[in-house]
Symmetry: C2
């Protein structure tokens, strides 16, 4: 029954690409686990938009100050929890750049990490809803400490079994130093939270101050080291840092994880749009626009069974709003996808701009809810169209900013095709600029033609998808027009090698 | 400014792994787009559990027949929409096995496909809620026809630009035949729906019959061809089929897409557990178990500011239920992950069993809701514990069945380590058998000790995670015990090459 080791390894090698057998049992690729973590975290980050969309505002309450204050509070809570969860996600990304491969125990520890992170929005919103009850701050700090503990366990376990580490650290001669460094980073936030929890028992304003510090800690430490460099001159890097794995906060993000997290946000937002239509508003769809009470299915049958057309007519605005909003989310995803196809490395700045863009994408269900309410409350449609345009504008302009930030370091962050002078440069510009321009135009149009604001908005929602479909054609037409107008030499979209000194050229260079 | 083509290609090759430049503009890898599609479809498939969990059942209504009927209807709608969306997802998977690479237009067409698929649950639930209104059937059929049209467009576009096709089809000499075959498969369901839509205008029971046929069409056609083979003997395969790409319904599923879809379901279910706690039930958490009205934050402060311990005590059951349920979902994911690490190819049967398992996983928020209600309604806890145990049992037993189905064709579906006699075989058995056994045990225990049913359930929820952590140790102990009891030769977990004829051996073969 026994065979030489080599034969079995040969058989295994055929299909064993996901298992790394280094004489250690059960070592696995972390790819799927990280994808699952990104999906979970992205959904958790976005769900705090639900209380905002569920804030029932009846027509009489429109201008009630307390309702407006409640809505504003919930929007602020959404933005803050989104930020907090993405900070936790970024920390998770850095942690798993230290850990290269995983085994069963690490997979289970990661699940524990996920569980603790998913409690963050909940404890945070408790803290905000009941600011004077120390319990809220206490629970939030406990949550952060729990996250830190689990992550410290993960670090400890990985360093105990070095074959699990990232190869750069694994073969480094300063592994113990790296371990201390990583643990320090992981436990920094939780340590501050521990102090904040202690303060919460007798002087909680101090707790809030400490927690604000935690959120901005990465940026504060970056600013501090920048100041140090400026004032004390560039220091000699310590001898061991040449070999140390650069896991601090300046390291580029893993592109794959940024994409996975972003996809999760886009997917859950697209789904929330559906939820808003039919799960919580289902019966309203059978009503005529001006009614508010929920009908019996029998009433519905009497009302519509004679006339399909009437029924479809009643659906009309809802479906239009749904299609329009789904198209918006889908096309924003499409632009993101197109951009990141050409990204080699994602810098910290790009990551931050991406988070900001996603935060506004998460606000789209709110925009949808506002615009679908038109059919029922024709007043204030101007306000609502403007809110929607603003949300779409910010979501898309931050996407454009990602590309701009990338262009500043284009040699390392972008592939040649989309750099200045690259053949896809103009198309990328068009894809990313389309929504900012369209929403800005729609906003401006509502200032001039406020009576037709709904029509303008729906026109934008229908025109932009077609513009995307015909994008390449439109861009070529536009460039040809520019040539004719400005008498440029003809530009042919052929591949060009862009030299570093040509970065300042804003127009594609002729080849 | 111009450089020879080769230099630029060399520079591009460095980081251009995601773009395939075959002289065609913008050809891209479909990987991220398919991951996004899987995330979206998995969330859409699972959200129909929300109406079930939101079915408010006050204590007085417990035994109201109409409420029970409503609940049963909603559960049935959930299961059916889950099945329908997974049928659409499977069709999408097959479609993108035909399409190898994508470009911008295909990415946009896929977004349109996603939009139409996301309307499926909505139109289906409309149809079910208002069964006598032809509008419901009509809208559902329109939705299916829309999906078919977009997919036919995708097929037509891909065949028009053959470099986008799967290489096997692209270089086949019978591309036109393949195209017809694919179009036939894609348009089969929509064609039937068209007929059903026509019938819905004057005789809708026929429509329902036709639509049932559509759901079971893949299996019906498989059964028909099996019968044909039996009765008419194996036919000579047509000359061209040797070269044709085998895209019919017997082809194995893409393992990556099965994993991505499953991850989406697990992630959204884990999130729904959070939602059930704090989004829709937030204020209840500050109440003592027997109260039902929502308190003012000021009341809360008065109640708890004096005693943190009391407050935490009030939270206790909710948090325990949350941790327990999150642990269940997380560990079911972990078992799925462990299994699919060792899967080479996923057969149709494995795919079907996976869908069934995921459908029950989607029911876990219902189980959670039932068990978290204990703190408020101590009666009927026995019923609820049993429902929860049953859901967990079915979710996990179908997972075990996937592995069993794989073992039947282990040479092609599994990697050597988990086959009969493989060194991971016993551990895989333990991982997949743990939840079925634990839930069955808990169910049985509630029959004997019905007074302690809650405690039994929580004990199970706490014990199983620890069992997973100590799994390898426990399995080794168990095997050692078996040896002692049954006087077997000592078994050492060393790699063995399992010969095909040794498949019947149920115990690991000594080496």
């Amino acid at each position: 029954m026994s065979r030489p080791q080599t034969q079995e390894q040969a058989v295994d090698a055929e299909g064993d690409s996901s298992l790394y057998r280094n004489d250690e049992e059960g070592t696995q690729s972390s790819h799927r686990m990280l994808g699952f973590s990104d999906a979970l975290l992205s959904i958790i980050a976005t769900v705090m938009i639900l209380p905002v969309t569920h804030t029932e505002i009846s027509p009489e309450q429109q201008f009630d100050k307390s309702i407006q204050k409640l809505l504003a509070t919930r929007i602020a809570v959404y933005l803050m929890t989104f930020l907090i969860v993405t900070v936790a996600w970024a920390a998770h990304t850095r942690l798993f750049q230290v850990v290269g491969k995983i085994d069963d125990t690490l997979a289970l520890l990661n699940l524990a990490c996920m569980m603790t992170i998913t409690l963050l929005p909940y404890t945070f919103s408790l803290m905000v809803t009941f600011p004077d009850v120390p319990l809220g701050i206490f629970l939030f700090c406990m949550c952060v400490i729990a996250i830190g503990s689990v992550q410290a366990l993960i670090v400890g376990y990985a360093f105990h079994f070095p074959h699990l580490l990232n190869p750069q650290i694994q073969y480094s001669t300063h592994r113990a130093l790296s371990r201390q460094h990583v643990l320090r980073l992981v436990l920094r936030g939780p340590a501050l939270c521990f102090v904040a929890a202690v303060f919460s028992l007798f002087f909680f304003p101090m707790s809030y101050l400490l927690m604000v510090t935690i959120i901005f800690l990465p940026h504060i430490s970056k600013a501090i080291s920048w100041c140090k460099d400026k004032f004390m001159g560039p220091r000699e890097p310590p001898a061991h840092s040449v070999e140390s794995f650069n896991i601090d906060l300046h390291a580029p993000l893993s592109k794959e994880r940024v994409e996975a997290f972003s996809d999760g946000v886009y997917a859950i937002v697209a789904t929330l749009l559906i939820l808003d239509i039919w799960l919580l508003d289902k019966c309203h769809l059978f009503m005529l626009p001006s009614e508010d009470n929920v009908p019996d299915p029998k009433d519905v049958q009497e009302k519509f069974s004679g006339s399909l057309v009437t029924a479809l007519g009643a659906y009309g605005p809802q479906f239009l709003a749904y299609f329009g909003s789904f198209a918006t989310v889908g096309l924003l995803w499409f632009a993101h996808h197109s951009l990141f196809l050409h990204v080699r490395k994602a810098t910290q700045t790009m990551g931050l701009l991406n988070i900001l863009s996603l935060a506004f994408v998460g606000g789209l269900p709110l925009a949808y809810q506002q615009t679908s309410a038109f059919a029922r409350q024709p007043r204030d449609e101007l306000e609502r169209v403007r809110v929607s345009c603003a949300i779409i504008f910010f979501a898309s302009i931050f996407q454009f900013a990602i590309w701009t930030a990338a262009l500043l370091h284009q040699a390392e962050t972008l592939q040649p095709a989309v750099r200045f002078g690259g053949r896809e440069h103009a198309f990328m510009f068009a894809k990313l600029a389309l929504y900012p321009c369209a929403s800005l135009l729609a906003f401006a149009a509502t200032c001039l033609l406020s009576r037709f604001s709904t029509a303008i908005f729906h026109l934008m929602q229908i025109a932009v998808p077609f513009a995307f479909l015909l994008l390449r054609l439109l861009v070529r037409l536009a460039l040809a027009t520019l040539q004719v107008l400005w008498g440029l030499r003809p530009w042919h979209p052929q591949p060009c090698l862009v030299e570093p000194e040509a970065q300042s050229q804003l127009l594609p260079a002729p080849c």
